[in-house]
């Protein structure tokens, strides 16, 4: 441990208490990666503050010591966003687990960042719920959701974290505490809540988060339809959208994912199906019933050879369990996999899937596809065997080409997992130098010293130039033609 870190660790102990500051190598190892295990870095110290006030003091101590820090929620992220800075400080927020206020009359819940996503819905259910629902919602934290602007299966209809966060308390990277937004919408001034959500921990640490909750739908209807091919299933997705139906969720799995997931859940999915399409409608009883019949008909017209309608909550749960098991079940297909998170315009789905298939053949690797079909968010899983010479490199190269195909089709390198360390090298495919420099302006306004989660998001390290200095008098003011209030 360097002397800088030893000094900082002593400060952190006086703030958090001895038992909440970790410096032993075997303790630090727990924190060296997030959910993306391909990337690891050993922090110098991990602090586990108890509340917002302690977080503020920890950040201030890091700032004074000039030590970079990374805030961490549940560590379930999939882009290496919570991977430590080598030798730096990790601020683990797992002790900040209090629900601070449930104001159901105004449909707001205020929580500390370590509260899990599911706990928010549980606090207001069954009459209300918190819509963003990442697959990891049982463990992932709201603080992490804010950092990544997490989505989920239902975001085609309901939107993302950014559409639900109305207020934040944020410790800026210099230790200053600011309130952004409120319970109220449209608080006057720049939408710094909007800028902060999805900033991947590079603008500060949120210590209190106020979110909007909404009434639960009166009815939910779910089906899974099986097709010969993903292109057939994709056409049905387009047909549903063209009918003006806004489904709560539309999720697709290809044959490889079906086989893997079925092996894990034994839900009775036909292993020879080319594609499984899960469609869920929610809303009022009458609207749901009318639209659901339409969706079943569209599936049948579109070539589905089997449509399974969930007749009760248990069957619905099984359909979702199978869909959500797909990632974890990939172990049955290959020892390792890369998960990508690219987005394409939905109408380009058939063409891009075909390209992916050709690339997979060329690279002699298997690629499974599980995706949020409604919003075109693909999750291609590039399967490989890490013990085979050269295969990890081949897989990584293939994953990169898949990302490129998606961007070329007019899409994005990431729909919900974030850029982190994993996708920063792809950023120049989407953004030019001027665009990246414009991003950096925001970063510099919040964190001129570059201490908050450095090395993430931006493809190359950048320093902040001189702050342009105190607000200069405008020539108009000098001429007496204008004044500031």
């Amino acid at each position: 441990m360097s002397s800088d870190i030893a000094g900082l660790a002593a400060d952190l102990r006086s703030i958090c208490g001895d038992e909440h500051v970790l410096t032993h190598r075997h303790q630090l190892r727990t924190y060296e990666s997030d959910g993306l295990l391909q990337y690891a870095a050993m922090p110098g110290v991990v602090a586990l503050p108890a509340d917002g006030a302690e977080v503020q003091r920890v950040v201030r101590a890091c700032h004074e010591a000039g030590v970079a820090f990374v805030a961490r929620g549940s560590g379930s992220g999939l882009s290496g966003g919570a991977m430590p800075v080598e030798g730096g400080c990790v601020i683990a927020l797992s002790r900040l687990r209090r629900i601070l206020e449930v104001d159901l009359d105004n449909q707001r819940v205020t929580v500390e960042p370590g509260v899990t996503n599911i706990a928010v819905s549980d606090a207001v259910g069954p009459g209300h719920f918190y819509p963003p629902d990442p697959s990891s919602q049982i463990v992932c934290s709201i603080g992490g959701n804010v950092a990544e602007n997490s989505g989920g299966a239902h975001c085609f209809k309901y939107g993302f974290t950014t559409n639900y966060v109305t207020g934040l308390e944020v410790v800026l990277p210099d230790g200053e505490l600011v309130r952004l937004g409120a319970k109220h919408l449209d608080t006057p001034g720049y939408d710094l809540v909007g800028a902060f959500v999805g900033s991947e921990g590079t603008l500060g640490v949120a210590t209190s988060i106020t979110v909007r909750v909404v009434p639960s739908p009166q009815a939910t209807r779910t089906l899974v339809a099986f097709f010969d091919s993903t292109s057939e299933a994709g056409s049905v997705v387009s047909a549903v959208v063209a009918e003006g139906i806004v489904a709560g969720a539309m999720e697709m799995m290809d044959n490889l994912s079906i086989r893997a997931a079925e092996g894990a859940t034994k839900a009775g999915y036909p292993q020879d199906a080319g594609a499984a399409l899960v469609i869920e409608l929610d809303g009022s009883e009458s609207e749901c019933a009318a639209r659901f019949d339409q969706v079943v008909a569209l599936c049948e017209e579109g070539g589905a050879w089997k449509v399974r309608v969930a007749s009760d909550e248990a069957e619905r749960a099984l359909i979702w369990k199978t869909r959500k098991a797909a990632f974890a079940a990939m172990g049955r297909i290959a020892p390792n996999y890369y998960v990508q998170d690219s987005v394409i315009p939905r109408t380009k789905m058939a063409a891009v899937l075909e390209q992916i298939e050709e690339l997979a053949l060329e690279y002699d690797l298997k690629v499974a596809n599980v995706f949020h079909a409604g919003d075109g968010n693909l999750h291609p899983l590039v399967c490989y065997d890490g013990s085979k010479e050269g295969e990890p490199e081949r897989a990584e190269e293939l994953a990169g080409l898949i990302v490129k195909a998606c961007v070329d089709a007019g899409g994005s390198i990431t729909g919900e997992h974030g850029v982190g360390v994993d996708k920063k090298r792809y950023m120049p495919q989407m953004f030019g130098d001027d665009d990246l420099a414009t991003f950096q302006r925001l970063r510099c306004a919040f964190d001129p010293a570059g201490l908050a989660n450095p090395g993430k998001v931006m493809p190359t390290p950048r320093l902040c130039g001189e702050v342009p200095g105190p607000y200069r008098e405008h020539p108009l003011e000098a001429a007496g033609l204008a004044e500031r209030m």
């Binding site: 109220h184 919408l185 001034g189 720049y190 999805g198 996708k423 953004f431 001027d434 500031r484 209030m485």
Partner: protein, 389 residues
Amino acid sequence: MMKDARGSVLSPQEPASPQALAAAVSEAASAGTAVRFAGGRTKLAWGSPVPGALEISTKGLTTIHEHNAGDLTAVVDAGVTLAELRAEAGSAGQMLALDPPLGEGDEATLGGIVATGDSGPLRHRYGSARDLVVGMTVALSDGTLAKTGGKVIKNVAGYDISKLFTGAYGTLGAILGVSVRLHPLSPTTATAVGRSDDPGLIGSTAAGLSHAQVELQSLDVRWEANAGAVLARFGGASAAEPARDAAGAMGEQGLETEVSEDDGELWDSQRAGQRSSAGTVVRVSGLQTQIPELLRTARTLGARVVGRAGLGLFWVTLPSESNAAEGVESLRRAMAPSPCVVLDAPEEVRGAVDVWTAPDPATLVLMRRVKERFDPAGVCAPGLYVGGL
């Protein structure tokens, strides 16, 4: 030269391309000339005045570049009017779910609506400009042309600069174009209206609907001439049925009810209530539980209220014959700590009150840092915005 001898503005500029607009801004910045960005000029009076500013218009940027009906997205220039985009999207049974008042000749442009963060009744179901804009092209005062976001509805690559520019009134730079998410038009709509002159009953009825397990397109309140109403609009394959149910429930609460299946005018009137040519309009960023108190205050002040019951956003119009400046302060006291921002107002009212409600000092410092990074020359509508930004 862009200014005449007295320092006042000559003719507004109307660059015909994004590059030309960015160049015009940076040229003004080099000369130390303040600029203001304008579209349909329907909301130019909002904010604090910026005397002597050169007006740079987006009206030369009028192309709908893409309408991807199958993807429910569109890419448009800032100078395109919402009415024009509405016609284009409507031809495919789609809409941009933004419905603020559009001005007398429907001149309001996408750029202006996004820059002011203006919204209408559809916000209840679909959110506002910040939720519907998925990408943006901007020009900064140093001539930088930059894009942010993308044109797919789901995308978390890079910082969400679009949200920063949405509602920033052009004080960070100019919005040149936006990518937006579209939604399907509802095949049918129907509205349940419940009327009462009891602010408490209006509030409790609105709260009941806001918390009910029904999917509303819009949920508004109205108060005018000592009488109030709750308006609940349903959309979908068969909107009349849930509207009748809602009206039934309102009737049980003691409101006078009706169901309208030809409800366009009802909602035009709600939108129109957000503007006033002679009165003073104050936008209250409140909470839904404040409805009774707000309506009682409006009754005392002889004011009109329209607003989004489930979102806590209200537009209060103080009549022109009243002492509106005093009315603004009364309203602020009654609604505190909810921010109250003056939008339309006669000159004398504008001069007598702070049109904005300033945020916390620490938050304002951060906002100033953002402004300084994006507009280091300090020429983009200086002084127009919150806290003199």
